[in-house]
């Protein structure tokens, strides 16, 4: 059985809106998977089902042999603490320092009281420092996060996920709010984490060109269904049209697809 198995997952918002319409896919351990698709295709919902931030209607998710749908209470907390999550808007506590925000990733593994009091172990603090150094943020260690640039904030977000020592990293539009240079740094960082630490990475992206460059595998989603699932090299113009609709800007896409093919 694969590391992550999603079977016939269906999720509706209200009676009308179908966010996920029978999604079935499996991901091997250590894969770097990029999910592309238009806004509202269900990409975010899919990611949030994996760590059960959202409950779904029917279907099942198995992560590392554990049925995610049945989890509750402390077991659900433990499940979430093994999955890191990175967000488009970083979602840091802006008033706190880089170090404190990175340490937040440890809360899920601590007793509730120790977490409330912020009593992080010496080992956790060492680990936080090591991660901050690895992400090149050591000069900002005690800086408040509202003084950082977008790219730096996102690196703090990645640090917070990494200190969880996660088996899986979920990234929801991690570069959508960043300029091209910062976006590159973030994507390189994610690729490096996948390569050197062996963490399985699932990334939602808007940018087809970035997806094709970094992904080991592309999953194209449209209206809650998987319409493409395969290597980046196999993505054709027809696939792009299926994922983004026939009106998708050909000027933008044609060049990128042919670039990869060439």
């Amino acid at each position: 059985m694969a590391f992550l198995e999603i079977t016939d997952l269906t999720k509706r918002y209200g009676a009308e809106t179908v966010a996920l319409d029978g999604i079935t896919l499996s991901v091997e351990r250590g894969a770097f998977v990029v999910i592309i698709g238009p806004s509202g295709a269900g990409k975010s919902t899919l990611l949030r089902c994996i760590n059960r931030m959202i409950d779904w209607g029917s279907g099942e998710i198995m992560l590392d042999g554990v049925a995610v749908g049945a989890l509750a209470g402390p077991a659900l907390r433990r499940h979430r603490s093994r999955i890191g999550m990175v967000f488009q808007h970083y979602n840091l506590v802006n008033r706190l320092s880089v170090l404190e925000n990175v340490l937040h990733g440890r809360l899920g593994a601590m007793s509730s009281l120790a977490g409330v009091l912020g009593l992080y172990s010496a080992e956790a603090q060492q680990e936080a420092l090591r991660i901050v150094q690895m992400l090149g943020l050591e000069p900002q260690l005690y800086k408040r996060c509202d003084q950082l640039s977008g790219g730096q904030k996102q690196r703090v977000g990645i640090g917070r996920a990494l200190i969880q020592n996660p088996a899986l990293l979920l990234c929801d539009e991690p570069i959508a709010s960043l300029d091209p240079n910062a976006a590159r740094v973030i994507m390189d960082t994610l690729a490096g984490i996948n390569r050197t630490l062996g963490i399985t990475v699932l990334v939602n992206l808007h940018q087809v060109d970035v997806a094709l460059r970094y992904a080991g595998r592309i999953i194209g989603v449209n209206q809650g269904r998987v319409v493409y699932d395969g290597p980046p090299a196999g993505v054709t113009r027809d696939h792009i049209a299926m994922i983004y609709g026939a009106e998708a800007d050909e000027l933008l896409i044609e060049r990128q697809v042919t670039d990869v093919a060439a």
Binding site: N51, M53, R77, R78, H79, R80, S81, I83, G84, M85, F87, H89, N91, L92, V93, N94, R95, L96, S97, E100, H104, G105, L107, G108, A109, M110, S112, G115, V116, L117, G118, Y142, R144, D146, Q147, G157, R160, A161, Q164
Partner: protein
């Protein structure tokens, strides 16, 4: 030159203009019809100004010593501080149950309706209400003022909590943090400045209420001395001294509040 097209009729504008016109008319009618036969306006104004002069320019103590004045001021400050503290402690916990990004909807609705009711009744009425069981005095004042403080601060705190972005809470929840951990590690650090400044505002309110309660509810403190000086000894000069004492404390409090919030707000 072309003329602008007429402005479309606006109900709000019409209402504002009509209200202003009616108020202007009432003012004119009122001044024209005042019964002022027994009042000599010139003499009254002169006496009013003389009173003010005694109050503000010639303050001195007569029936209490300076040490006693400080003691009484301390009692009033203590009444204000104690009721603010009790109110703040209750409000912090209750506000967590009100903030829509932290609490279930039903709980938020229940606490909100109760506190709206508490707030709707003025502080003085709460004190008088508790005076029925506790007797007129400091106990009734403390309970009554705390009650209204809590109601006020619950609303203020809850709104501060609701300012926090949902995403920040989501991020910690997704990493497996418990609700109390999220409150302590994200909600409090994000809203501490707002909480402090609301608490200081309430302390200012409670300080002035404590003065009034000293006179009206027999809670003691500088309010009672002011009541005696004005109503019993008819001593405007001593009342002036009390007024300056209150003013000095209010300014000191304002300075302290501004400095404290600024220090917390300053990025480190």
């Amino acid at each position: 030159m072309t003329t602008l097209p007429p402005r479309p009729f606006s109900g709000v504008r019409w209402l504002v203009r009509t209200t202003l016109a009616v108020l202007a008319l009432l003012t004119i009618v009122a001044f024209a019809t005042f019964d002022s036969r027994s009042v000599d306006v010139g003499k009254a104004t002169a006496e009013f100004l003389a009173g003010f002069q005694r109050l503000l320019l010639e303050p001195r103590l007569e029936n209490v010593t300076f040490v006693e004045l400080l003691e009484q001021l301390a009692i009033t400050v203590a009444l204000g501080a104690l009721t603010t503290l009790i109110g703040a402690a209750v409000a912090f916990v209750a506000a967590l149950g009100v903030a829509r990004n932290l609490a279930p909807r039903w709980l938020s609705l229940v606490i909100n309706s109760v506190t709206a009711l508490v707030r709707a009744v003025p502080t003085v009425l709460w004190v008088l209400l508790f005076a029925v069981s506790a007797g007129l005095g400091s106990v009734a004042a403390v309970i009554g003022m705390s009650f209204h403080s809590a109601g006020y601060l619950i609303k203020a705190y809850a709104e501060s909590f609701e300012e926090i972005e949902r995403g920040t809470l989501e991020a910690l929840e997704a990493s497996g943090a418990t609700w109390w951990q999220i409150v302590a590690q994200a909600v409090v650090p994000s809203s501490v400045t707002a909480l402090l400044s609301w608490t200081f505002v309430r302390f200012e309110i409670n300080f002035s209420t404590a003065i009034a309660m000293g006179a009206a509810a027999g809670a003691g403190g500088i309010g009672f001395d002011m009541f005696m000086a004005s109503g019993f000894y008819l001593d405007l000069r001593e009342l002036g001294a009390f007024t300056y004492a209150v003013l000095a404390f209010a300014i000191a409090l304002e300075w302290f509040a501004t400095r404290t919030t600024a220090r917390i707000h300053r990025p480190g």
